[in-house]
Symmetry: C2
Subunit: 332 residues, 2 copies
């Protein structure tokens, strides 16, 4: 309870310790989240994503300044996967963001977790709760990368900003497929580079084809130059922060906030179920040495993965009474 109180009073030390516990998958983390959860829900959570080198960190830095000018408190969670291939680039960011280090209204943390399916999305969700319970008005969640993992993390937020840079030919083609589903605002960064006009045209064409209803939200396409801290950069960031506020208003006004909350909550339930159902089974199998034995069995082709998994499921799961009576639910 002590922790919860300290978090609610904005203790940077307690928050940092809890986030470390989340990274380490320390059992205390789960207990803390349980207690903190009722005190969450106040922040506007903004996800920022795009591939490495798109200039997200400069953008985040500029956004912090823009929100602070409006006297809003800001929490930043930089997701920093330690797995091969990813993250890393965030290192520079944190150094840059030190200019906000003296500001009590800004709390910046990176979050790193190792391997394990879906671990990062769950850890991000938990860490966001901590920043939320601290009473931050705005939470910026930054990810580097372009996979399903990043999409999952983005589902933790209310407003999703996708950052693009001109001249990444493959990139826009790659992004076209499903980006409409999750982008609320597009930012074309380094817009002083060649290819900006074409990228904007492509984005707008794509949005035109999406047939967004008149009262729906059409993701605006904003541009930001790479000349950090110039007057035009600051001005562009102000415009971006206004668009973010507009989107928040839209969500509230059209009752869309609840839909986002549902999306976010569903991701959280799934993640929690994995750690409460699948992880203990795996841990138990491992403790009994069965994972090793099973591995040898499969290598020798004496079984196959599905037959083995079905057998394990029948041992660990009670009979699943699909579509039976609805008694005994979670809601009493």
């Amino acid at each position: 309870m002590e922790n919860t109180k300290k978090i609610r009073e904005g203790s940077v030390r307690t928050a940092s310790r809890l986030i470390r516990n989340i990274e380490d998958r320390h059992p205390e983390a789960r207990a803390a989240i349980k207690k903190i959860f009722p005190h969450t829900g106040g922040a506007h959570i903004i996800g920022i994503t795009g591939s490495a080198g798109a200039g997200k960190s400069t953008l985040v830095d500029g956004l912090i300044s823009a929100f602070r000018k409006k006297n809003q408190t800001v929490g930043v969670l930089a997701i920093d996967p330690t797995s091969p291939f990813s993250g890393g680039a965030l290192l520079g960011d944190r150094i840059r963001m030190q200019k906000h280090a003296e500001d009590q209204g800004v709390f910046v943390r990176s979050l790193a977790t190792r391997g394990a399916m879906g671990g990062l999305s769950k850890a991000a969700g938990d860490a966001i709760h901590i920043l939320d319970a601290m009473g931050k008005d705005i939470i910026l969640v930054e990810t580097v990368g372009t996979g399903q993992q990043e999409v999952d993390i983005m589902h933790n937020s209310h407003t999703v900003i996708v950052v693009l840079v001109p001249g990444m030919g493959d990139e826009i083609q790659a992004i076209k497929a499903g980006i409409m589903e999750i982008a609320d605002i597009f930012v074309v960064n380094k817009a002083d580079h060649a290819g900006t006009a074409q990228l904007i045209r492509e984005l707008k064409n794509m949005l035109d084809m999406a047939h967004i209803p008149d009262d729906g939200w059409r993701p605006p396409v904003l541009t930001v130059g790479s000349a950090f801290e110039t007057a035009s950069f600051v001005e562009n960031l102000n415009i971006l922060s206004e668009k973010i506020a507009d989107h928040h208003q839209y969500l509230i006004h059209f009752n869309e906030l609840k839909n986002r909350l549902r999306r976010k909550t569903r991701v959280e339930i799934r993640d929690a179920l994995r750690s409460c159902i699948l992880d203990p089974v795996l841990a138990d199998l491992d403790a009994r040495g069965e994972l090793d034995r099973l591995t040898e069995l499969l290598i020798n082709k004496e079984s196959d993965p599905y037959t083995a998994a079905e057998e394990i499921a029948s041992r660990y799961l009670r009979k699943i009474p699909i579509k039976q009576t609805k008694k005994g639910g979670i809601v009493r």
Copy 2:
């Protein structure tokens, strides 16, 4: 059984249909894999990864030609996530690879699956089994992206090639962290671009610091120019295919192949357990409308994700007897 026979005879039509079933998560797919599994294990599975625009497709194309010259049959699985942000770039590749379309010894398929945690890694593992059972000597598994998902997919292979291009400043920094764990061969692509010498130097420094034992495998760093189908390109690809063969020999000679197999099998077991334990629980909760009710409960802060998930776990899971007697295992 019919399917298994056809697959083993190399039927392109049956293989394509099964891969489509895997994509669609058709229940037939699981039954097919169970039957096919005993007939797998003959192929040398080679994973190729790197970020978008690194020129993996040209490389794959060149590798197909190099292996065909040695009379080896080749299966190619291009992983093409339909999720936002990813894949896409593979479209061009498939068109390019059509020059192998007439060649009976080459089978190229892309694999796309939607969303759902870990779905892609499992689907890739299953599709690889199909190509394996078809009797392909070499299976090339190509992924675009740099996340945990790609690492998981790479764990399905025996030899991992990481493709880099010079001049992606962020990239090398980002990759440094954990790449040593999974890269067996580095290819510096578009090596006629600026920054090649520096990139190679950085890679070699990194390998020097890894203290690889004298009888261990030191990942070679190869360069390939971007001038497709020139004599030097063909020559470089021959060298690469030789290095791949060397790595295979190394794996066999030092009994490392079994370690790779174990790694691959462990991923497969985990994926199969998810689909046999977690998915049915989620499906049952959904069928009962409990996921919706639970979502509302959490939104209203009447519960928290972990308390809810623990309650669900206690309903669906039998008591987990951690470290109890070892009777009742899978191996009898």
